[in-house]
């Protein structure tokens, strides 16, 4: 069975640094790993940590709680 890997590209990779994402999508499948794009993706919300230390918890857990 093919291994699956959920890709977490962060915030800058999918919006600006496309080269990294292009090379990930090129190379990882060659290693026999299937990349899965997360539905309803959000970044880790790091700047919110400055407002309140716990605020970043929500964007992290969101994916699992939505299902």
């Amino acid at each position: 069975m093919k291994k699956k890997y959920a890709l977490f590209p962060g915030c800058l990779m999918p919006t600006e640094q496309y080269a990294y994402e292009l090379s990930i999508r090129e190379t990882i499948p060659l290693l026999g790993v299937e990349l899965v794009d997360v539905e309803g993706f959000s970044c880790c919300g790091e700047p919110m940590k400055s407002v309140n230390q716990l605020l970043t918890v929500y964007p992290f857990c969101k994916e699992s709680s939505d299902r």
């Binding site: 915030c11 800058l12 999918p14 919006t15 600006e16 496309y18 994402e21 292009l22 999508r25 794009d37 997360v38 539905e39 309803g40 993706f41 959000s42 970044c43 919300g45 790091e46 700047p47 919110m48 940590k49 400055s50 407002v51 309140n52 230390q53 716990l54 605020l55 918890v57 929500y58 964007p59 969101k62 709680s65 939505d66």
Partner: protein, 175 residues
């Protein structure tokens, strides 16, 4: 919902302030004592090169109790959380934790967050990313967007209202 709603949270503010002060007191009394001003944090600081943030001075000022001066200064907002200072510190002081505590206190005491920073926060609240999809220029001088490079479309938070409500809930209930 805007970032103003998030920073002015009404009632729980006193609890929040007490907890933040406890955290800062711990950092001030125990952790910053280990710092012997080797300035390794500053020499690696990403924000020092462009924005004049000097983590070892922040630690020194905290040790001398100049908390109000730090909280009211804009320089604490230039930290970009690369965590290099924590990695490099031979005494495990982690200036980044001090900066987080100072920024949290600045928000809790109603200080304005600098403009660009507010923009990033607002962007996370509205679409779950710190910025929208940008155009890039290739080495052949072409301006391209994400889809033109053959990348799949980006999936953003499906239910924005639910996403914001979740963040708001954490902000209100327990800090």
């Amino acid at each position: 919902m805007s970032i103003i709603d998030l920073t002015s949270m009404g009632e729980p503010q006193t609890d929040l302030k007490k907890e933040l002060n406890d955290r800062l007191t711990k950092l001030q009394d125990e952790i910053s004592d280990y710092c012997f001003q080797c300035a390794k944090c500053t020499s690696g600081c990403e924000a020092h090169k462009l924005l004049e943030l000097e983590p070892h001075k922040i630690v020194a000022l905290l040790k001398r109790g100049l908390i109000n001066e730090l909280v009211n200064s804009d320089v604490i907002w230039t930290c970009m959380t690369c965590l290099k200072c924590r990695e490099r510190c031979p005494q495990r002081v982690a200036p980044v934790e001090i900066l987080f505590a100072l920024k949290n206190i600045a928000v809790a005491s109603g200080k304005q967050i600098p403009g660009k920073y507010t923009g990033m926060l607002q962007s996370i609240l509205s679409m779950g990313l710190i910025q929208d999809i940008q155009q890039i220029t290739t080495h052949t001088n072409k301006t391209l967007k994400r889809d033109e490079l053959g990348l799949p479309p980006l999936s953003k938070p499906i239910d924005v209202a639910k996403f914001q409500a979740g963040i708001m809930k954490i902000a209100m209930e327990k800090v």
